[in-house]
Point group: C2
Chain length 104, copies 2
Amino acid sequence: MNKEKRERLEKAGFKLGSVQEFLQLTNEETAYVEVKLALAKTLSEQRKKSHFTQLSLAKKIHSSQSRVAKMEAGDPSVSLDLIVHALFAMGCTPRQLGSALAGA
Amino acid sequence: MNKEKRERLEKAGFKLGSVQEFLQLTNEETAYVEVKLALAKTLSEQRKKSHFTQLSLAKKIHSSQSRVAKMEAGDPSVSLDLIVHALFAMGCTPRQLGSALAGA
DNA sequence: TCAGAATATGTCAATTTTGACATTATGTCA
DNA sequence: TGACATAATGTCAAAATTGACATATTCTGA
């Protein structure tokens, strides 16, 4: 959108900048959540494939069963870092992470 | 390795479990760092491609120039979450993240 | 060579994430 | 059914991450 059109619209009362920003933020947030959920799902699958319980995985990465449950649920309180660490502990390769993300 | 062999080796003084654990932890850490650096590099490239300065990117994601510099350096004090958020702000798709990781 | 823009580095209070724990829910098998 | 393993949910103090700031360094034209 060019400057003139923006100025016309904003003069007409449209808070266009902030709407755009809002939409962009929600899109970013959507993408972030999708990535988190894709990794969470991969972790759950990989853990079961490796015949680990949430508790045994927790021990392996020096965490707790409840936190592993939250990882696999994609809970807002867990970081991507934690999920990624867990995935590597379950034997995933960076390439596998890449595949998981491609499907997000 | 089976239980008997492990017990023989441990009786002989090998702290096998912990050595294995140590090696595994360092491998996990290596993979994690590789992933972080791959994303950091992608962010730096994508930012330049989008003609943003570290400062303008910082504004866009409500962060600061210094933190963006640390993101692009893969500094230990920045989380994957922050880098991923920045990547999405620069217009990356989850699929692009996947490609970046595949090359890690 | 200089000035200004861009980037890097160090620090810190405030916010967020963490492991741990308690408890509840859901399977699962005899 | 009931005992037991596994998984889900809520809470919280401790630990890690964050934006902000100050400052230093590097880059880039003129």
